[in-house]
Amino acid sequence: MLDLALFLILLTVGYFAGRVTEHRHYKSILLREKASLRLPTVTSNMLPEVDQIAKSFLVSGSCVISIDYFKRILAGLRNIMGGRMTAYETLIDRARREAILRMKYEALGSSIIVNMRVETASIFSSTNQNGIGSVEVFAYGTAIKLKKTL
């Protein structure tokens, strides 16, 4: 009986805390994406003319986001039934967008980030072999600063 009560408490705490964190994070992400709209990132080699390039440097951003208890249980249930894991979708989406924003922040003042790549890793917690502990996203690319036109 005590185990069940503890489980339900963790579930409720996880659900509400997770919702609040997610909501706040998304608000922050949307705000920053709007602000950094003028700095595009592309996955291709769209280099400008060589004589216009003042500086080029590697930029990267990474982010590790952890899962809350409610999402972990939901994902476990989904693992049994099969189908789309909606619990992790928001997790990974947030982690990715956050990593890309941090990469953009490192490249402030540049005009474009070229050849961007993204690596995802899942970090399993040592105590719980069954589920995911957290998601790590690492984004990197080359930032190009153009010479100031007179």
Partner: protein
Amino acid sequence: MKYTPKLLTKNVNISITHPLREFAILTAGILGALILVYVLLGFALEWVVVPRIPQSVERSLGELFLGNYAVEDSPERQYLQGILDRLVEHEPSQTLDYQIHVEENPVVNAMALPGGHIVLYQGLLDRVESENELAMILGHELGHFAERHHLKGLGRGLVLLVLSATLLGDQSGITQFLQDSLARVESRFSQRQEQQVDEFGLHLLQKTYHHVAGATDFFERIQKEEPEGPLSYFFASHPSSANRVDFLNELIASAQYPIGEKTPLDLPE
């Protein structure tokens, strides 16, 4: 290259289903499936598997469990065995080789182990006053063997646990939950089984002694010693003593069994 900055209007990478709704649907689905499997397993075991378990298997299972208990002979044990043998004579369907074992433990309990072994604890023997009472308790245990309750209880819980451990891993929360809850749920079912077996014991008492004096004595005595209320019995494996006494008295009245002279218990030291 011309760059046109544009904000995305909709986040395509997430789903719009509300997590609570999804949780409810998934839990209901899985719980439903589990309950179905459990019920079907119960029927399968009861009607198909357990009747087919041969006596030899049951006897070797008994050897396994018996390892924990003392097997020394004593005049006390032989006297008790004598009472048991008289009872067994009057129940010809019994085919196991029934043996009594006495445990030097002040606990008030008796157990039926696979293979025909009945364990009586010292605490129980100290509280028994007439031979008829003891015969009632032994008859109760013989009833467990007749219905093969111990095998049924073992079987269902074990199969479910093995299934869950294979599919989900033994560290999974669900497997642990099954392990704990199975012990409790199985004791709920066995309350009904216990009642069934009390009835068996009563009929056997009548057949052996031709009266049923002393059938309820032991339980009435225990009832006075128990201070707990009825609610604690929800998860216990026996029905509360008050319930048992009432049930037995009802049976005695409806079958109109006579009440004769009780034989005192003459335990050798």
